[in-house]
Symmetry: C2
Subunit: 313 residues, 2 copies
């Protein structure tokens, strides 16, 4: 449905490679082509269709949001010292820290340029504010460090900053560009935030239920890194007497200890409970869409939302 428009987004994404020398261009092309599902640009375009906003303005915004996402991944991979992303080597796997920092910065800058090409100042403000939410979320996360069991509130704030905020921005692009009432902007932003948090919860669950080959890292890798996600929060609330978590949180556990804890997490029902929360958010999000005409575009958004919380096991 969005084939031509998504192809234009790809073209806009690759423009960044024309402003730099060939070796940098090749490197940046690699990052951009390694792709991902282009979920965020698809949501931008669909929200534009939903509100009958001008597509010529939505396309650079779709590219801006994907570029911003890519820039954060480049710096994240550097920080996590990750060597694989989407099955391909990360930038920092074959470059030193310096060009990785600078390449991420350049992608942030390009994202900012693309954001202005939507020709809508209010949207550029929201774009910059979202970038700020993402960056301060990451800085917070770093300073909290390992060994901390977050409250549910803290977990919610973290996944909003990390994922849901950008989904919210993607979904509110349409009503902004269409000049829709404030109420509609707020509704679609709320839709995006619900969908984004459901998406992140599913991703967090995936870390426990997938296999090492798919993840490219050990099962329970988040926990191994000291990162507490929703299934663990639920388990710990059910089993306050289990002291293994605080041990796991303070230092990387042995593979055996980790496997044992993950096995108990499975049988406790905490994983299913986390997915039930994700499902509920998508259901709530879908009720928001009922205020919009039942077009094929609305149907496509509904499909993405349902797909986002498909049981990953």
């Amino acid at each position: 449905m969005l084939k031509t428009e998504l192809a234009e987004v790809e073209t806009r994404l690759l423009e960044v490679t024309s402003a730099v020398p060939p070796d940098i261009a090749g490197m940046l092309r690699g990052i951009i082509d390694s792709g991902g599902k282009r979920l965020r640009p698809a949501l931008v375009l669909l929200s534009a269709h939903l509100c009958q906003a001008p597509l010529a303005q939505a396309i650079p915004i779709a590219a801006a949001i994907e570029m911003l996402h890519t820039a954060t991944l480049v710096h994240d991979d550097l920080i996590d010292a990750a060597t694989l992303r989407r099955g391909k080597p990360t930038l920092n796997a074959h470059l030193s820290a310096t060009p990785t920092v600078l390449a991420g910065d350049l992608l942030f800058a390009r994202a900012a340029v693309l954001a202005t090409e939507g020709q809508n100042l209010q949207l550029v403000r929201r774009f910059s504010a979202t970038l700020e939410i993402i960056c301060s979320g990451e800085l917070n996360q770093f300073f909290i460090g390992r060994g901390h069991l977050p409250t549910c509130d803290e977990y919610e704030r973290r996944i909003f900053a990390k994922t849901a905020s950008l989904f919210a921005l993607a979904m509110e692009t349409g009503p902004h560009l269409a000049g829709s009432p404030v109420q509609q902007i707020a509704e679609l932003a709320h839709f995006g935030a619900l969908l984004g948090s459901a998406f992140q919860i599913t991703d967090d669950v995936l870390d426990f239920v997938s296999d090492e080959a798919t993840l490219g890292k050990p099962v329970g890798g988040d926990l191994q890194q000291g990162l507490v996600t929703l299934p663990v929060l639920i388990y710990q609330e059910q089993h306050p007497e289990d002291t293994r978590l605080s041990v796991l949180l303070h230092a990387p556990a042995g593979a055996g200890q980790l496997r044992e804890f993950v096995a108990d997490l499975y049988t406790s029902g905490a994983i299913e409970a986390a997915m039930t929360i994700a499902d509920r958010r998508v259901k709530e999000a879908l009720t928001i869409l009922e205020h919009f005409p039942a077009t094929p575009y609305r149907r496509a958004i509904e499909e993405i939302a349902t797909f986002a919380v498909q049981r990953p096991y």
Copy 2:
């Protein structure tokens, strides 16, 4: 003259500290307070006065430009592994790479938010485009690496990206916000570019003529790092037979070798020749100001311009 307005700029700069936990806030306050001369914000405010632009819009832009400058310094210091900046410890001197990368990113984001508060889409575009010029300049510089004798064109492009582009942006803020004719925007941007490049040439000269205590690094530190600046380019053009430079460029020289080369640079007149070029640019810049009414604001810009190329020896 700009006391109240510059104080407001400081307030806007420090706002970033209120959105983050106390330990990060303290750290960011340290970076912002370590200050510098606030030359860029002063130019923004003066260009606004020069064109009778609304100051309420110029103040956030002044803060945005200084914040952008600060963000690039944070990442630069990390890259150069610098431990002192303006006589104070850099972020990376007491933090690891991760929070330094993230703090720089957060400052970029805040700069982008501030830029939108000027309420002028065209100016936000120019802001983002300038950020892109700065970042791609740095990435280029990194990939060129040491051991390369740049052409004059390459040197000009480098100092434009590094310094002059942001001075140009500062000076064109006034006419943008005042809705001045395109011609006037172009003229003041050109003024800023000339002033910025003169400023950078003077800074490059300073690296040879200052003393180690003032610089916080050895005299000739740029050359030691393999960075060729204008005095060296001029010397090499005068003395194509001197093969010491290519040796110096390929590997860090011993202190004795470096001192000897710098002494020859002195006596060759290359340093004075570089300053003559800087002077000429400021003179050319000042002729542009003649098209503007002779107000105290114009006089203040002229003073800054003259000050920028004061002999640092």
